[in-house]
């Protein structure tokens, strides 16, 4: 490593676009397709995620047509859906279940796990901790291509004659194990399991890389307590993923055995299609335990990165330090730990021992405390700020609002006594779509708007961003808020139609409203798509630090090459939230500015640190130099 001094960052700006350190001979394939550059891989995840999000959204609109307008003639969908539209111009009930299943699978795994973590963990971890790339660029590349392969399998399953998996995204056996129970449990389910196995491989390759990079590749001075909250969030997310995804793999493997090799892990006492099956001694509940041991942490795998992104964006655009930095880390840590011991709250009424229900209820409601702390901290961060409503900020505020609205209904559902009535009704649908689906989706959108300048070197159009935000924000509430009422009225989820029941006879008006709002919200996403692709090529050129943020990624050139920084990686001297510090010249001090340069704004204990800056800095060089 070359010599360095504390002013390295100043050199950085002088030789932009002239990458002397990391100049490989690269061709098109190695630069854009099989790239090992974390930024390119992040973009690959993002584009694939956007593709899946669009598909998942379209699927949901198709089944919303059925639910909102049950009498509508869907003949016009025949060119696309073919035999899945019946003679009478209706959606086939089994295809309805397939739509629900694939919507869930796609959104949870392919969009909000791969699309969100894959994009932003990849993009931001090396840039924000000050690393040239991930610990293993090759594994990182494999991570994307396993995801791509997984996507291919899942996508293919949509076109099978027997349809894709249709037993719900939770694929509870015996339904998912027996092709005679539902057509989708044939080849569709097989492809689902293969796709998920590959997905888990991808997720593990990515997760291990994220963890290793955060632990080992932080730049000089970037201690754990100086990490931006985004990195903390990605770090916890990766740990949760590495610990929980293998359990899903095990669950899926046993299901494959039951389906194909005649074992009885989950199957017992089944009489179907006119014959008693030989399976004996299995437990359907076992699968649910295994599934939710991943399934619940998965909620936080989806949510934590979004919370991390919005913490960063809210602090930046409020021009204030995030309130309670350590409390934010603590609550994320606490949430990460608790997320492993609350899974059975999805199973209060499955026949599980009621005592187990009591324990899980206790643990579940405890998780509300760190979540509440996070909301209070966000609100306090806004207090006495100087708020810039960039599109990223708007989406982050939307996230906090959804997290609050959806989180509060979790207190009902976590209470096993109340859950008896609400379980598997639209109340649950409303709850998790707000708290996890929409909140995470908004976190992802916020991240795209905020880091687009760093990804593509250009700005997205803000006005289109505002329009996109307001239609989506109001639209999402119009879709999911009415579902609370429908759920309190007892309407069960995954119902093709409610007209068979007198009890569920009402609410055609609300269901129609929900469907119209869903169509409107999906339409608004095309504004985003236009903005995204248009700005990528024709957007205004981005300044080096468009949001006046403090973190390291904004010290890179406008279009960072592979290796991120030209010359030395900047050292870090302070935490990432020195916004509006009293006495400072500007309302932000980037992390790479040493305290010795800002005597006017230093707090007393920070003046002490000046001495360490020089002694530490030079000491580090001596140690480094002696190795070479």
């Amino acid at each position: 490593m070359a010599t360095t001094d504390i002013h390295t960052h100043q050199d950085v700006h002088h030789h932009d676009e002239h990458d002397e350190h990391e100049h490989h001979e690269t061709n098109f394939w190695r630069t854009y397709i099989f790239s090992e550059d974390h930024k390119v891989i992040a973009k690959q995840f993002l584009i694939t995620g956007i593709f899946w999000a669009l598909l998942g959204g379209i699927l949901s609109v198709i089944f919303r047509l059925q639910l909102g307008f049950p009498d509508m003639n869907l003949e016009w969908l025949k060119p696309v859906l073919g035999e899945w539209i019946t003679e009478e111009g209706k959606l086939d009930p089994e295809f309805y279940l397939a739509l629900v299943t694939m919507h869930g699978t796609i959104m949870v795994f392919f969009v909000l796990t791969a699309g969100l973590s894959g994009t932003f963990s990849n993009f931001l971890i090396p840039l924000q901790v000050g690393a040239r790339d991930m610990a293993s660029g090759f594994m990182n590349m494999l991570s994307y291509w396993f995801f791509f392969l997984s996507s291919c399998f899942m996508f293919t399953s949509l076109f099978l004659e027997t349809g894709p998996a249709s037993g719900g995204w939770t694929i509870y056996p015996p339904l998912s194990a027996l092709p005679q129970a539902i057509k989708g449990s044939g080849l569709g389910m097989t492809l689902w399991l293969i796709a998920m196995a590959l997905f888990i491989v991808s997720s593990l390759l990515g997760g291990i890389n994220y963890i290793t990079t955060v632990i080992n590749l932080r730049t000089r001075g970037m201690s754990f307590t100086r990490l931006p909250l985004t990195i903390w969030a990605f770090f916890f997310t990766a740990i949760i993923g590495v610990l929980s995804f293998p359990v899903l793999f095990a669950a899926a493997l046993l299901l494959i055995f039951d389906r194909s090799f005649g074992t009885s892990f989950y199957l017992s006492d089944i009489y179907i299609g006119g014959e008693a099956l030989a399976h004996d001694g299995g437990s359907a509940i076992l699968f649910q335990h295994l599934f939710w041991f991943l399934g619940h942490p998965e909620v936080y795998i989806v949510l934590l990165p979004a919370l991390g992104l919005s913490s960063e964006i809210i602090a930046t655009n409020s021009r204030k330090p995030i309130f309670g930095y350590k409390a934010m880390i603590g609550s994320m840590l606490f949430i990460a730990i608790l997320s492993f011991i609350v899974w059975a709250h999805h199973m209060f009424v499955t026949g599980m021992n009621p005592f187990l229900g009591s324990i899980f209820m206790l643990l579940t409601l405890i998780i509300a405390v760190p979540s509440a702390v996070k909301i209070f901290n966000y609100v306090t961060t806004l207090w006495k700020g100087n708020i810039h409503f960039t599109p990223g900020m708007l989406f982050s505020i939307g996230l906090v609002s959804f997290f609050l609205t959806g989180g509060i209904t979790g207190i009902f559902l976590g209470n096993s006594a109340i859950d008896i009535q609400l379980h598997d009704t639209y109340f649950v649908v409303a709850h998790f779509h707000l708290v996890m689906g929409s909140a995470s989706f908004f976190g992802m959108m916020a991240g795209v708007y905020h880091w687009f300048p760093k990804m593509f070197g250009r700005m997205m159009d803000a006005k289109l961003g505002y329009i996109h935000f307001w239609i989506t924000f109001v639209g999402v509430y119009l879709v999911f808020f009415p579902m609370h009422y429908i759920g309190i009225a007892g309407f069960p989820r995954r119902y093709y139609s409610w007209t068979n029941f007198e009890t569920f006879g009402g609410f055609t008006d609300l269901n129609m409203l929900v469907s119209v709002a869903a169509i409107l919200t999906l339409t608004a996403q095309f504004i985003f798509l236009f903005n995204f692709f248009y700005s990528m090529f024709r957007g205004r050129l981005a300044p080096a630090n468009p949001w006046h943020a403090t973190t390291l990624e904004w010290t890179t050139p406008r279009n960072p090459g592979h290796g991120n920084w030209v010359g030395e990686i900047p050292s870090v001297y302070r935490w990432p939230y020195d916004y509006s510090k009293p006495g400072a010249k500007e309302d932000y001090i980037p992390q790479h500015i040493p305290y010795s340069e800002t005597p006017e704004s230093n707090l007393p204990h920070e003046n002490e640190l000046i001495k360490l800056e020089t002694s530490n800095g030079s000491g580090a060089i001596i140690v480094e130099g002696s190795k070479h």
Binding site: F389, W470, G490
Partner: protein, 357 residues
């Protein structure tokens, strides 16, 4: 032709939108208005949050009060009253918290929007505040947890011995109910391997004497004000018994019998009078995805006075009487008892029958 016109219309609208976008873009560049934070956009966004807050909270309260009777289901069970109370207590607590936090958040957003020359307050932490809002939610949640735990423990406590035993069986895509019969009040043993396509849909084991007087029903009849113990099982895939008015829900799992005990407090007739709807019926639904016909698994539920219920039970024919072919499966030693219990042969005298048992 129509679709072509629609298509052209859509293209035209998109083209116009694109032109508007380009023009406004060029105008803003010409004006040099590239820094948005001081612009009107910032003020408009801030104001829109207030509009959104007022509008959405207003709609929320208006709808919740105006349509209360549409989205709440009348309750007809003892524990249901309790869980409903818990539900509304939780609702009160959370709505208060929700409204306060929402208002504070949106007001802050509006009040602290960007202003030229204004500097944000450097306020990185405050341990008292953080402690306060960790402890207060913790206490509130503790109260909710303990009330919930007590209710849950009561609901899931073992049923009393006198409880009325009824078995509900889920299969694709219908429910069946089996009653233990009026003579022994015990459900006969079953084995899924004994299920056949000719009549033994329960898989009744006819070597068990308790099975002789069991009878099948396609309606769920229940007595009012008496503890009921639903024994629940499934034949093929998961199902879930959902009795919305009784606040009862329990999965039906193949290979693992489950149960739910509760007490109905209102007969069907009482509920009809109360709602002023002479056609009202309690219904049972399935709430665990079970395949193509998941949405159609309905069973009518009838709650009646004790005497009417007993009369109805007594009027039902035993399954064995309806399927006399299965007499050959009854062990020889039990054949006479089976004939008597199934009501196929006159009972020579209750005392004699009991001796034979």
């Amino acid at each position: 032709m129509m679709s072509l016109i629609i298509f052209l219309g859509v293209v035209l609208v998109l083209a116009i939108l694109y032109m508007i976008f380009r023009v406004s873009n060029l105008v803003s560049i010409a004006k040099g208005d590239v820094d948005e934070k001081g612009s009107t956009a910032n003020k408009v966004n801030a104001a829109l949050f207030i509009v959104f807050m007022v509008g959405s909270l207003g709609w929320f309260f208006w709808y919740s009060f105006a349509y209360y009777h549409q989205y709440t289901l009348p309750v007809a069970s003892e524990h249901g009253k309790h869980t409903d109370l818990l539900f509304w207590i939780t609702m009160a607590v959370t709505v208060i918290a929700f409204v306060i936090i929402s208002i504070i958040m949106f007001v802050f957003i509006y009040k602290y929007q960007y202003r030229e020359g204004q500097k944000a307050k450097y306020f990185p932490d405050n341990h008292y505040l953080e402690l306060a809002w960790t402890i207060i939610p913790a206490i509130v949640l503790a109260v909710l947890i303990f009330t919930g735990l007590r209710a849950w423990n009561d609901i899931t406590a073992p049923a009393s011995k006198e409880a009325e035993l009824i078995e509900v069986i889920g299969q694709q895509f219908a429910w069946t109910v089996r009653y233990p019969g009026v003579k022994d009040k015990q459900l006969g043993a079953v084995d899924y391997k004994l299920i056949d396509n000719f009549g033994n849909e329960f898989g009744l084991d006819l070597s068990d004497k308790n099975s002789f007087d069991d009878f099948k029903s396609l309606e769920l009849h229940m007595p009012v004000d008496k503890e009921i113990l639903l024994k629940i099982r499934a034949k093929d895939v998961l199902h879930s018994v959902f009795l919305p008015h009784f606040r009862v829900k329990m999965d039906a799992v193949p290979g693992m019998p489950t149960q739910f005990k509760f007490k109905a407090t209102k007969t069907t007739q009482q509920m009809r009078d109360e709602l002023g709807n002479p056609n009202f019926n309690y219904e049972m639904a399935c709430t665990e995805i079970c395949g193509r016909g998941h949405f159609s698994m309905k069973m009518i539920v009838i709650v009646e006075e004790q005497e009417a219920y007993e009369r109805w039970k007594a009027s039902q024919e035993a399954w064995l009487k309806q399927n006399p072919d299965y007499m050959k499966k009854v062990p020889n030693a039990l054949k006479e008892a089976a004939m008597i219990k199934a009501g196929m042969q006159k009972d020579p005298g209750s005392s004699v029958a009991e001796v034979k048992d």
